[in-house]
Symmetry: C2
Subunit: 192 residues, 2 copies
Amino acid sequence: MQELKEMIRRDGIILPGDILKVDRFLNHQIDIGLATRIGKEFHRLFEAEAPSKILTVETSGIAFAITTAQQFNNIPVIFAKKYRSMNMDPDQYTADAISYTRGGAVSLSCAKEYFSPEDRFLIIDDFLANGEAMCALIDICRQSGAKLVGCGAVIEKSYQAGRRRIEEQGIKLCSLACISAMDENGIQFQDD
Amino acid sequence: MQELKEMIRRDGIILPGDILKVDRFLNHQIDIGLATRIGKEFHRLFEAEAPSKILTVETSGIAFAITTAQQFNNIPVIFAKKYRSMNMDPDQYTADAISYTRGGAVSLSCAKEYFSPEDRFLIIDDFLANGEAMCALIDICRQSGAKLVGCGAVIEKSYQAGRRRIEEQGIKLCSLACISAMDENGIQFQDD
């Protein structure tokens, strides 16, 4: 997605520890026009898979899960919870993920009642790097017995293990901006 | 908003500690059609205030901030962060809030770069009860010198202190479903 790549080049900040900070339009301030067009692009890429629900994880995935769901005629969005809350359902699916930006393992959880074997889940997240969060969401889908029809990431760091981990499970994966290298000289995208 | 009140009556669960759980359409699974119509309703209520940016707080406010921003011709959404992250800006506005559903105080923070004196902020959140989170967002706006044009809550517990705390600051507040009482007999809305 050309517009997205241009925004990453213009407004992305590379931080120590191989972190790409895109707080200006994606992770803290959200560019809503861009977010809506991202939803349209995911719809184009996954239309044939006819998802019936979208699964994401709090926080930054929610915006793009919503704009994608709008394009699929308002299918429901479920976001996995990362943080304990007093009013969480006791009857949950859980899966662990290592978070590099937060440090340490986090346990993602979803109430079981939102999953049924008839569901066709599309997983949407903001970033795909080592694939920890996305593999945990895949694990939750598997536990539930629902069908997983694909995974979409807004930004992928293609030089990390995430894509391989997902594709070797036979899952369709589409990312809208694939970064092949990132260093003091700037950001290279895979298809440039 | 009649549709919202009907959904709260049908799918809301009252938990001990005066907690209203609306995970089926708002806090865990999101009904995207409803969320889009909530955005249209906030647009109608705040159109005259001509906001230029929307401020919310992770996690559950984000969905409704986005659908509202879409109606205002895609103005940017900024979400205050509750949780520490390695790549947060050092240059922040912060304000504390007590969270009843999570237990204890949380510190909300926003990078300063997204606030300017020319901005006209509309604050949107999912719940208004004691007003802790919303007052922290108001405080962040004040610190920044930006203009605050109003506050919108999807669900308000009108018998708690939040509305009074906001209105006594002279701020316009609109909630889409105002609960006047909630107990084992069910949920009463203010305008029923």
